[in-house]
Symmetry: D2
Amino acid sequence: MITAGVVGGSGYLGGELLRLLLGHPEVRVAAVVSTRLPGRRVDSTHPNLRGVTDLTFCREEALPELDVLLLAAPHRETMRILPRLAERAKVVIDLSGDFRLADPAVYERYYGVPHELPDLLGGFVPGYPELFRDALRAADRISVPGCMASAAVLALTPLTEAGLVEPDVEVDARTGSSGSGATAGPQNLHAERSGAMRIFATGGHRHEPEIAALCGVRPRLTATGVEAVRGVQVICRTALTRDVTEAEVRALYQNRYDREPFVRVVAHRRGLYRLPEPKILLGSNFCDVGFALDRDGGRLLAVAALDNLVKGGAGAAVQSMNVRMGLPERSGLGFPGLHPL
Amino acid sequence: MITAGVVGGSGYLGGELLRLLLGHPEVRVAAVVSTRLPGRRVDSTHPNLRGVTDLTFCREEALPELDVLLLAAPHRETMRILPRLAERAKVVIDLSGDFRLADPAVYERYYGVPHELPDLLGGFVPGYPELFRDALRAADRISVPGCMASAAVLALTPLTEAGLVEPDVEVDARTGSSGSGATAGPQNLHAERSGAMRIFATGGHRHEPEIAALCGVRPRLTATGVEAVRGVQVICRTALTRDVTEAEVRALYQNRYDREPFVRVVAHRRGLYRLPEPKILLGSNFCDVGFALDRDGGRLLAVAALDNLVKGGAGAAVQSMNVRMGLPERSGLGFPGLHPL
Amino acid sequence: MITAGVVGGSGYLGGELLRLLLGHPEVRVAAVVSTRLPGRRVDSTHPNLRGVTDLTFCREEALPELDVLLLAAPHRETMRILPRLAERAKVVIDLSGDFRLADPAVYERYYGVPHELPDLLGGFVPGYPELFRDALRAADRISVPGCMASAAVLALTPLTEAGLVEPDVEVDARTGSSGSGATAGPQNLHAERSGAMRIFATGGHRHEPEIAALCGVRPRLTATGVEAVRGVQVICRTALTRDVTEAEVRALYQNRYDREPFVRVVAHRRGLYRLPEPKILLGSNFCDVGFALDRDGGRLLAVAALDNLVKGGAGAAVQSMNVRMGLPERSGLGFPGLHPL
Amino acid sequence: MITAGVVGGSGYLGGELLRLLLGHPEVRVAAVVSTRLPGRRVDSTHPNLRGVTDLTFCREEALPELDVLLLAAPHRETMRILPRLAERAKVVIDLSGDFRLADPAVYERYYGVPHELPDLLGGFVPGYPELFRDALRAADRISVPGCMASAAVLALTPLTEAGLVEPDVEVDARTGSSGSGATAGPQNLHAERSGAMRIFATGGHRHEPEIAALCGVRPRLTATGVEAVRGVQVICRTALTRDVTEAEVRALYQNRYDREPFVRVVAHRRGLYRLPEPKILLGSNFCDVGFALDRDGGRLLAVAALDNLVKGGAGAAVQSMNVRMGLPERSGLGFPGLHPL
């Protein structure tokens, strides 16, 4: 049994961490920090946890010694609280964007402020078991990637590892409203956000440099908010360095993810759910990846879908924690998703 | 050509007033007041009006002399601004709740503050052409009813006028999110409000005394927010003072609304849209009413549906204005609604 | 380890049974029958089960000897197949409506055909562990109640057991589209069903006699399809046999469901989720129940919400199976639901 | 006053034609043909037209002599019925795909059958007043373009006319469910289609050759069904033949569409609705177009949004009819769309 703590427990990612950790057979949740709601019951903010826990939010000072500390605090704030929190736990897993990028200059360009702990950058292992399982086994600092970056990286990896992808990649992401967090504003007011097809990024998004670093490509990320609360889908459009056959590409994907517990290859010829879509993944830790090859075999669409709060956040954190702590990688992540929903 | 002005033009009701008035063949919109956004273009707040108008919001002081002034300001604030605004126009049409109730004591109970202009209460003609067409022809002060009250009153009137309704009536209302206005808060955050079936009133709602006054019943109003931006549907459950036949009830409804331009009787035996629902009414000024009689003929469901921003607000205001100014009652209100939507 | 089989595995209830049974630590799914799709992979119909199972649908004839057989076949058809299927398993759990009613005459009135196995009626124990836990421990024939009936019965039971409820109860149900099943028709075409507030029953619904039998009341069931795929919410309006206080009612609910693993009392004064709603229950086996008392204490709203495919169907079946087979009642039913969703 | 007739009146495009024509001040609807529902009231299929018309569907044989005949019949069927129907009216406007392509070989490749009237191909003027206003003034045969093609063509035209666009263009379309028509099937079952992000085309879509012919590019069209009933949004990704500035591109769009009644340039720096999206266009005949230029000025996103049943179908037909018949181009098309919705 390991002891875990959560900081930023009143947000959507914090709530999802709690759902997963409270259902995890090998974890005891020792404390949940919320600077906004100390003393309030956790289930007053996360009503799905009624009857599941009697925990209340505590102040940062109340954090006990822990095996694992999971940080779900906002960008920019996380780098400020990390130093004083890091000592509370041997292993720290951060879900913010503050430790995803290795280069302080790139951080400043994309996050708009200088990084306050530049020496720590590069010291975090990215929370992709599919790419860094061995490194994660020994990592005391883990940084969970951005949701759209996760989808794009998992969609492209079988191709980039095979040297098939030309440098310029168009990444088209569609996302639900929960990605913008639990703070109300005009942009996520129900009457405005409902039924939207809102293009909110046309390049320069923070997840771009993550994809660039991990896939060695020049991504152009366009992001559209569509009618959904959870879910991310990406379509990566790329030219190929050589013509390939559909069978060749399928084999690349299948071999790459054959033994991965949470990546499924979805590229079917029949049925309604031929390519990845988030609807059937909500609540699950699966990332579905698929592809469509042009007739001429020279260009390809790589597609991926996931739940931004699970495989795109809290689930990736728990999966990485399982790897780090030597627990079964699927532990606490067994929910398969719902159909229909 | 009459000149009209709108106060509270940046809210949802204000925007809907502008959509209707700008499309009205006999109206010129002379000024639109917004205390929040003076100087900003109207279409920056109401993007559906791009290319339709170049108007900008102005300060209250800039209001010229008008034939008709329409007030879409919040409850409580309206009674404060009315005195200094009323003199700008011969006819004032208020969409707030401040002048819907005749009794200051009832106002204070339901709105939580004493009324500041008790002498004016009762001086406003309710904006129901179906009930007060003659009075509206001469009214210089008109108060547009609440959206759920409008639906319930139009559903019940054919029965109450016939003396068929027992005093206790259960009114069950379902409503979209636009009713809570354009100000963002946790209650209308997309991720929380989406897919909701949220019971937000179980009695004591402000629209109750409106129904009581106009129908002479004791309504118990339950209201639930369901997944929709626009639309109100009410089911009124009532015992009848005597057993009736289905044909008798149908005749009552048809005769009552026979010559009404914006009330349709919808109580069919076949088809998908057998009883009133808002989906096909959005943007239109129709209120559909229907009924279902119990097998034993002793109890009845009276049903109504409307668009809370049109027949439940801005459309009722324009229809009342048409009646008052001697314009064709349908003028500017011709949009029939969309199917499918 | 017990062996289970599912008949009607290609429908929505069948798929949900499979999701739960495949995740159940003490169950082995031995066979899944689909008369429509024999030989096809289960995950081609239920894409959420990709990577979870390699099962294929089989013909009825291929059913092996089983500990438990779960029937998710249509009404009317189930009574035809039961005789030849019943011998395959010691315990049969039926999710259809065919064995919910004790009286053949009532069955014929509500289902439109004479019952073909009248002698078996009344021989099935209703799948409500909250009401029939002891009987279920020994039951070889279990009939899972209707989704709207389950919600209403669990909402009313604390009151009816206390003799507080007057005979006439208005039950207002709101439901998602999955209740109408996986067969496409005009009524569940996306463009027509989307955004609907469709009153599809105004009395005479098949779940009425279930409520009547279990609660000893005369229910009038009105049902409205609202925008949702899953989820049922009911509001039961009732007069009380005597005036009560809010504290009294709360105590009744809390004492009644204190030790129930899947019923939560939700009647809060603050917060967004004050009363039961399905949004946070999807995929879970919880039924949330709550209430609102009139000011005068003489009338009450009893509210309940559940996922029609889980606690309103497949989950109630698994919970009943757990009770019958002496397994931990929560086994396989641990998913708490998602927030936000 | 001109007389118009509609064939295929029971479908979604047929219903939208009727909504627009019945509200058109200069048109009399003389007959509505439905082979499926002759004798049935039009408003039994299109409930939004209750109280608007008493028309009933008739058989083809009952079509009188007309000024304009509008065909909303399916692909492939239209080329069969055209010969016998064409003689009924001087002007024929077809909304199907049968006469959109000039080359019979291309038609056969994309529609899967040989064209039965190859000599007529090329004889229809495309229903784009923005591109073919003069030709439309004299056209007796008009073919309304596909909804996704319309959006892409209007988004790209200012750039292609300026010679700025490299041949390869990626067109990413997102669309609501009404595009798949009024016939129920698994693909548009509410429980499956709701909340979908369903990639249904990855190249080879029928609207591709329309874009190719009108813009002189090689489009690759990817189409995704998202949660909406109405609405199409396209993002066209293209490399530019030379670097340009944002001001240059803006001027190109503004000058091109300056005097167009139904195309608005939407490319704002602030506000929620910075780029085109369908939500605020539903029911209106507007096509909003906008753009986003890469930092380096060498690549561009051209964006467009419209209502697939209006500017993407029935509205374009009525606008073309207005041009052809010398009526004011805006006549009958004044509805601006709703906000919020």
